[in-house]
């Protein structure tokens, strides 16, 4: 692991620690609205009229932006990671089964995956997000439902390759059931690219979650997410830009760390392909 990747890993660990601890230890409730007039729109690094210090200032309801941002980070990080893992798991299962079964199963699975791949992921997300009531669970399900195709293709290709290995025939000759051979012998050896894709997908999933929340289709206020915090600062951008800028910076740092970590993982396991880059909105 190179220096940059190690730095990213430490940064992410610190972030995870901060988003868990800060809201627990904070003096103020990040959701409660108190004396709005005395506390609203305090600039970063200043104190409000009640004498409380706010590291990143306050929003229009006088809520501390730093504490809210950390609370939002919990949701954004959790949804991003879980969404990416969900997509990875679905993709692995579909790809492995398609390659193992072959025939009609394979053709149908790949046809659906091709069809879904030809709609830009963001548009697909918007379509699906409109299906259910917006919220964290919906975003999670939608991230899983729209992100599995790439992984499925990778795993399918690798399973087809691994299937020809002698140890697979050996396992079959020893009388292991087809299911056991697939999940115990084939899939674990075809997992490398899937893990890379999933890791690289975390940053993207966090971005997409924030995008949905920004458009009002994701996490709903008063629960904070980086996306809806930016949306909340949108009409204050001329008078109090920090309200929208701060959560965006948190988002960038997080996604940056995830990308750098994923990049170094990929450099060790596989080469870069143009399609990986193009998939990003």
């Amino acid at each position: 692991m190179n220096r940059l990747a190690r730095f990213s890993a430490i940064l992410l660990a610190v972030l995870v620690g901060a988003v868990i601890l800060v809201p627990m230890l904070a003096a103020t409730d990040p959701l409660a609205i108190g004396d709005v007039l005395a506390t609203r729109l305090v600039p970063p690094g200043a104190s409000d009229r009640l004498g409380r210090f706010h590291l990143l200032g306050t929003d229009r309801f006088g809520r501390d932006l730093f504490v809210r941002m950390m609370l939002a980070g919990r949701i954004s990080l959790a949804v991003g990671m879980a969404g990416s893992v969900l997509a990875g798991v679905v993709g692995t299962v579909v790809g492995a089964v398609a390659a193992w079964r072959g025939g009609a199963v394979d053709r149908i699975a790949m046809a659906i995956s091709d069809a879904l791949l030809s709609i830009p992921r963001l548009i697909l997300l918007l379509l699906c997000a409109a299906l259910w009531r917006p919220g964290a669970a919906t975003v999670l399900a939608v991230l899983g439902a729209t992100g599995w195709m790439g992984v499925a293709r990778l795993v399918r290709g690798d399973v087809l390759g691994v299937r020809a290995q002698p140890y697979v025939s050996a396992a079959q000759a020893l009388g292991a059931s087809s299911r056991r051979v697939l999940w115990r012998h084939v899939v674990p050896n075809a997992l490398g690219p899937a893990i890379v894709a999933t890791t690289l997908g975390v940053g993207n999933a966090i971005l997409l979650e924030s995008g949905l929340s920004f458009l009002g289709l994701g996490i709903q206020p008063p629960a904070p997410s980086w996306g809806n915090m930016i949306a909340g600062g949108r009409d204050l951008i001329v008078t109090a830009p920090w309200v929208a800028i701060a959560p965006g910076l948190a988002l960038i740092v997080t996604v940056l760390a995830c990308t750098l970590l994923g990049d170094s993982l990929r450099d060790r396991l596989a080469g870069e392909r143009p399609r990986d880059l193009a998939e990003r909105a």
Binding site: S118, I119, P120, G211, A244, G248, L251
Partner: protein
């Protein structure tokens, strides 16, 4: 076949949505009878299979149906939005390519220097930034910043809409007005795209710059500019053009956010609005259009490759 699958999947996805379109469309004071009448009028009470057959039939004739909310053909609604989005997408794509390749090449040529490290950091950071946040930041700089820091009046760029709301200019003045309105959105979209292209161009050019024939070219005494222009970039171009074609749909889809922030009347805004109001025909029409764009872009990449890379013939 692929297009048929996309179209069917879109239909299924949209119809899975809970919530009655008619209930949202009728006025707040409407009675259940009014809603039923509207449902019959929009053919929403017909069996799903019949609706599907009707929609497919229309689609084959190039008819996308009629918008529920605007009561005019979907093709007219989208027809107004497409030029806006496509213009935005294509101009930023062009800028993306030029700026991205230039930055990537510069980095590769100055590999390992401070310039390279700084640019790597900058491109990776911009690449990680959500476009709507970049858009808001730019607005902050050019509105809030322009007044606070006392920038000259030319820097006070309009942040919203496609044209001046008064819209009195004609001829060249109108063009200038649109261009002034386009500067911020195009910059945001191009910045995100260029960051991605630059990352890729850097690694491609860096790989090629180490090749033996590049050393030969240098040994011949060619100037550095000629070596990069004629020998390295010419070989780096094919994969970059493929990447460019593949990223066109992403740029157009990415304009959902940019259009939303800058209040541009493009596809993205139409799509988001239609989803919110359950305007099924518009949502389905827009999705099919996006899918067609992806398929076309892939096709274009495949077709363009032999043209720019003589080594390939297919």
């Amino acid at each position: 076949m692929l297009i048929w699958l996309v179209v069917t999947l879109t239909f299924v996805l949209v119809r899975l949505a809970p919530g009655d379109a008619a209930a949202i469309l009728v006025s707040p004071t409407a009675t259940p009878e009014d809603a039923a009448r509207l449902r019959a009028e929009l053919a929403l009470d017909a069996p799903v299979v019949v609706q599907y057959a009707k929609w497919m039939g229309g689609l084959l004739r190039g008819d996308l149906g009629e918008s529920f909310t605007q009561r005019r053909p979907v093709s007219a609604v989208l027809g107004e939005a497409i030029p806006v989005s496509l213009g935005l997408g294509l101009s930023s794509l062009l800028l993306t390519f030029v700026v991205g390749v230039a930055i990537g090449t510069l980095q590769a040529a100055r590999r390992g220097t401070v310039v390279d490290t700084a640019l790597t950091f900058a491109t990776t950071a911009v690449y990680a930034a959500p476009s709507y946040w970049l858009a808001l930041s730019l607005i902050a700089v050019f509105t809030y910043g322009a007044t606070v820091w006392g920038l000259p009046a030319a820097f006070r760029l309009p942040a919203f809409g496609l044209r001046d709301p008064a819209g009195t200019e004609v001829g060249w003045a109108a063009v200038v007005d649109v261009v002034r309105h386009a500067i911020l959105p195009v910059t945001v979209l191009a910045a995100v795209g260029a960051a991605g292209i630059a990352r890729y161009a850097r690694s491609t050019v860096a790989d090629l710059a180490g090749a033996e024939w590049v050393r030969t070219a240098r040994a011949k005494g060619l100037r550095s500019g000629v070596v990069y222009g004629r020998h390295v970039l010419a070989n780096a171009l094919p994969p970059l053009v493929v990447l460019l074609a593949l990223s066109l749909p992403g740029v157009v889809a990415g304009s959902v956010f940019v259009e939303s922030v800058f209040a541009w009347p493009g596809m993205g805004r139409v799509m988001v609005g239609a989803i919110a109001s359950r305007d099924y025909p518009v949502v389905m029409g827009a999705t099919v259009l996006y899918a067609a764009l992806v398929i076309l872009a892939n096709l274009a990449a495949d077709l363009a490759l032999p043209l720019i890379d003589p080594r390939r013939d297919s």
